[in-house]
């Protein structure tokens, strides 16, 4: 899929909501986190939501960078590597305690595992399986509506 701006945003939100939630739901019980399960879930889903919300800004930036590419494409690899700046920025924000609803940051290992696995799953689904139920998605720049 070669994205357009709205396609990027829609795809990100839907994939995080569906695939990201599924991964989070499965992962939280085994992540090295402290506290009651409900609390751990709350924290993890807030992190997931933050990846989604910040992502709208990131997608804008990626869209801008893409303009320098003649083909106006976004190589598969970029879709994976962008986790690095995104996870780093979110970590800084968590550390500064500015993410609403979250007091303090989770342990680094749990954070990395969570964000990393969610990202990997979303990336894998976006690079193939997504096309199975959504036949038109790849020809519409990733737009779902």
């Amino acid at each position: 899929m070669v994205p357009i701006l709205f396609g990027r945003i829609q795809t990100r939100i839907v994939l995080l909501a569906v695939v990201g939630s599924a991964v989070t739901a499965l992962l939280v019980p085994v992540l090295p986190l402290a506290g009651p399960l409900a609390e751990r879930y709350r924290g993890a889903f807030l992190v997931l939501a933050a990846v989604g919300v910040l992502g709208i800004g990131w997608e804008g930036l990626y869209h801008l960078l893409m303009q320098f590419r003649w083909e106006k494409d976004w190589p598969t690899l970029f879709g994976l590597l962008t986790v690095v700046p995104e996870a780093a920025l979110l970590w800084v924000l968590l550390d500064r305690d500015v993410v609403p609803g979250l007091a303090g940051r989770p342990p680094l290992a749990a954070y990395l595992l969570h964000v990393g696995l969610v990202w990997l799953a979303v990336w894998l689904v976006a690079n193939g399986p997504m096309r199975v139920p959504l036949l038109r998605w790849r020809f519409r720049g990733g737009r779902l509506i």
Binding site: V2, I4, K72, D73, G128, L135
Partner: protein, 512 residues
């Protein structure tokens, strides 16, 4: 010969003159009529992907007829790729997810190849493309094998009717008549008519086009052996070069020129030949080019480099969305900016050309050839006018790699549509189609006439003449047919269920 054999079942003068035919008129001519709601003309890859789409949407085989002179949908493609130096084991140009045998593009060819050959290499290459590796592309043989399998799965042969289509005319009361000339002796009458509500045209390239100076040479000297088109069989050139050192002129700067160069250079290396190559570019690209910093294409040493024949985003991204809104002059302008002759930058080709330039046996030059003449010793002399003055180039053979760009009127069916069917031309001179690939001006009652492939280049969607483009057209057409309540629109549930059947190699399910 149409008028000479005026027996029953022949096109009459009256039919040929009437832009709209009544059932009575056709019957009076004695032409037998068959009914099928949907007819596709061509039977190449374009017809195949649309039929595949419709079958997966649940349309039964009885509703569809494919009128074609081909036995298999990949026949013309295989012929053209083979002569232009892509035999089955070689890799084609389009990417991993451009799969004409799979409407989802998943699993992609790279996944299939990795699975079949038990290696991760294709996946690693796809992962790094196009930054750390060249675009991964499938082998021609894999494409044909997949098409063969899908053709069986959807019962394609049951829908195929062999013959050459002569013309398509609108029918009084709606729909169309398609006139087919079946293979001689196979039917009682010389012509047959198909009466249908919908017609789809995917007739491929109208014909070979030769450069004017080369056509003049061939006609003047009646020599069809020393000047060849890359799309004609021309093994004799490579065979000649194995017998003695020779000079070849290659004309053009597209992917076919790249392929021909590769063959010449591979042979040179493999058999230790002394082949000299002069490549003539009409437009010699010396570096990155384009109107502004955010629209620059890579280039150099004569070539314009691009992975596919258009920038990748025309098949689904930003450029697709943008082109969809453009008409007339603005559209033509955009085509000029991002199209033009180009070839992929491939590591192997770069190595070979570097070696050739260094070794002094490969000479890329800029120029326009005004004339080609034979010399007393049998060599062909090209008179070249270039940016750096005039010169003469002598060679044993000239290979024209410039194209399949003949005018659409060279195809009878298309010429007839322009003359009698209400069709018109787009800003690039080909058939003007709507965003959903209906040919503008040809509607007939509740029927519709669609076209896809090379004949529609210049429309709202530039990537038409590619596998993926043909699939995009198929999707648009299938959705339009669903809007007209003729078939069902494939939604997420059916799409997933049908994909599972595809994966398991099970046939498609017809809708009641």
């Amino acid at each position: 010969m149409a008028h000479a054999s005026h027996g029953p079942g022949e096109l009459t003068g009256e039919l040929l003159a009437a832009p709209i035919w009544s059932d009575d008129l056709v019957e009076a001519a004695g032409i037998p009529v068959s009914d099928a709601p949907f007819v596709t003309v061509g039977g190449g890859i374009g017809s195949f992907v649309l039929v595949d789409y419709l079958r997966i949407a649940g349309v039964p085989t009885g509703q569809i007829r494919v009128l074609s002179n081909l036995d298999h949908p990949w026949e013309t493609y295989e012929y053209l790729t083979r002569v232009s130096q892509i035999p089955r084991p070689e890799r084609i140009r389009s990417d991993s997810a451009s799969r004409p045998d799979n409407i989802w593009g998943f699993p992609s060819y790279a996944v299939s190849e990795a699975w079949q050959s038990r290696t991760l290499r294709p996946l690693i290459q796809v992962f790094g493309e196009p930054i750390f590796s060249d675009y991964w592309t499938p082998r021609a043989g894999a494409v044909f094998a997949g098409l063969e399998r899908e053709s069986r799965r959807i019962n394609y042969p049951d829908m195929l009717v062999k013959g050459v289509v002569r013309l398509v005319r609108r029918r009084q009361g709606g729909g169309y008549f398609t006139i087919l000339t079946p293979p001689e002796g196979s039917t009682a009458t010389r012509r047959m008519a198909y009466r249908s509500r919908f017609v789809h045209l995917a007739v491929g390239y109208p014909g070979l086009r030769f450069l004017p100076d080369l056509r003049a040479f061939r006609e003047t000297y009646q020599d069809f052996s020393h000047v060849v088109n890359a799309y004609e069989p021309h093994e004799h050139v490579y065979e000649f070069l194995k017998t003695r050192p020779g000079t070849v002129v290659v004309r053009g700067g597209g992917i076919v020129a790249s392929r021909v160069l590769q063959r010449l250079m591979d042979d040179r290396e493999r058999y230790g030949l002394g082949t000299e190559i002069v490549q003539i570019f009409r437009t010699f690209v010396t570096g990155a080019h384009g109107p502004h910093p955010w629209a620059r294409r890579k280039g150099g040493d004569g070539w314009a480099y691009q992975g596919f024949n258009y920038p990748k985003s025309v098949w689904g991204g930003q450029l697709k969305a943008r082109m969809r809104r453009l008409d007339g002059e603005a559209r033509a302008q955009s085509y000029a900016e991002m199209g033009g002759t180009n070839t992929p930058w491939r590591r192997r080709w770069q190595q070979q050309m570097r070696a050739g330039r260094r070794g002094g046996w490969y000479h890329p030059v800029q120029g326009v050839v005004t004339r080609v003449e034979p010399r007393a010793d049998g060599m062909l002399v090209s008179q070249l006018t270039g940016d750096t003055g005039d010169r003469e180039i002598a060679a044993h053979y000239i290979i024209d790699c410039t194209g399949l760009e003949a005018d659409i009127t060279e195809h009878r069916v298309l010429a007839d549509l322009l003359a009698h069917g209400g069709a018109g031309r787009n800003p690039l001179g080909r058939l003007e189609v709507e965003r959903h690939f209906e040919i503008k001006g040809t509607a007939s009652g509740n029927g519709a006439l669609y076209a896809s492939g090379a004949t529609t280049l210049g429309g709202y969607f530039p990537g038409v003449d590619t596998f993926l483009g043909l699939q995009i057209a198929a999707q648009e057409i299938a959705d339009d047919l669903a809007r007209r309540s003729w078939c069902r629109r494939i939604g997420p549930v059916r799409s997933t269920a049908q994909w599972v059947r595809w994966m398991r190699g099970r046939g498609v399910e017809d809708e009641g």
